[in-house]
Symmetry: C2
Subunit: 248 residues, 2 copies
Amino acid sequence: MISVVIIGYGNVAHHLINAFSEAKKVNLIQIYNRSIKKIEHLKEKKNITNNLQDLKKANIYIISVSDDAIEEVSSKIDIENAFVVHTSGATSIQKLKNTGRKGVFYMLQSFSKNKKVDFNKIPFCLETENKADLLLLEELASSIGKKIYHISSEQRKQLHVAAVFVNNFTNHLYKIGNDICKKNGIPFEILYPLIKETASKVENLSPIEAQTGPAKRNDGKTIKNHLDLLNTEQQTIYKLLTQSIQNG
Amino acid sequence: MISVVIIGYGNVAHHLINAFSEAKKVNLIQIYNRSIKKIEHLKEKKNITNNLQDLKKANIYIISVSDDAIEEVSSKIDIENAFVVHTSGATSIQKLKNTGRKGVFYMLQSFSKNKKVDFNKIPFCLETENKADLLLLEELASSIGKKIYHISSEQRKQLHVAAVFVNNFTNHLYKIGNDICKKNGIPFEILYPLIKETASKVENLSPIEAQTGPAKRNDGKTIKNHLDLLNTEQQTIYKLLTQSIQNG
């Protein structure tokens, strides 16, 4: 049995609490949040607190707060040799300022509060300072998930920026597609199957092999026709990405 | 029963031949290709030809050749009042130069020769010059599929450029994600679940509502950290898309 305290109550914490509550190997003994109001509904089933001095003894303390608060919150955990991990993709393990052991328990996915999470499909990116703690984090991850990776702070930074490209920026291209459809009375749903196919193709084919379209085949006539249909901002993006595809 | 002749043997034609061969309401009576060699393996089951003067009588002639060849190929079909349709997303109905009736039978999806196509999930974008032909094309589409839309040539042009954003350009962002991973010894597969989640999210949430990340929340510190990790070309794309997200 692994005893866990969760610190924070954002999207990630919310889903972790649900998952750990159902996991057989995990004993979720306490939840901390700065504002007690937001976690009061958990009171009947779990011990809750808004005081970091009142944390109970546990095998692992999971800090799941905004990136900027990790340093301060971790510095206030003064339980001897406590094993404290954060869940941030963009934050180095070094930002943890507790005096004990440190680690990272980063789940690479975009969490929404209202959407159920299938942890079996989520990659757990783990980092610790020593082997024993790594085994402990692996055990915790495997109690709710399957896909476990060892990712250093340096790699995690890179992974985080890669995620911005395949998530935020990709979503912005969907937004442009949606804008074009809306403007022309076309239901955006016509593009759903193509969006899904594009996303699933890269699991079998590397993105560079999967590429098709006017940029790839250097079809200047179609590119010109397309540019004529776009507004200035869309044109700038179209031109830059076309050129980048052609650079290979 | 709808009798059909398919003209051309690219990816789209290949999958249409398979689908029509299994459809109960369709009689695929002939396949034309400029090079007879490429379709010779179909000889035992279908009538084949490489001569447009030898086309058999049919309810619908489907031209599925490269965009540039549509005009010439259609002009050579001299069967009286023949109903000729093309399958191109980027080509106006007016490019058909046959003397009879004209239409468009455009399936919005990225086809690969080796990957089986689920036509039930593919949007059929139909256009004709008159109502009777539209009903005929609808019947043909519903013999192999379910999602049927009426899309004018003007709308189809717009849809085609929107498809470049959500398919080619999105795939290029996956390629950049892959490049970053490769360079840092990170398995690209870690990003698959995020890629899939991003793609499926827009079915329930508009892309603008689904947006998250440093650009959206105006997190200049993270943006600066990200830029420091990228090469010049990646930086240019990162900056432009970040700004475009912030423009809203």
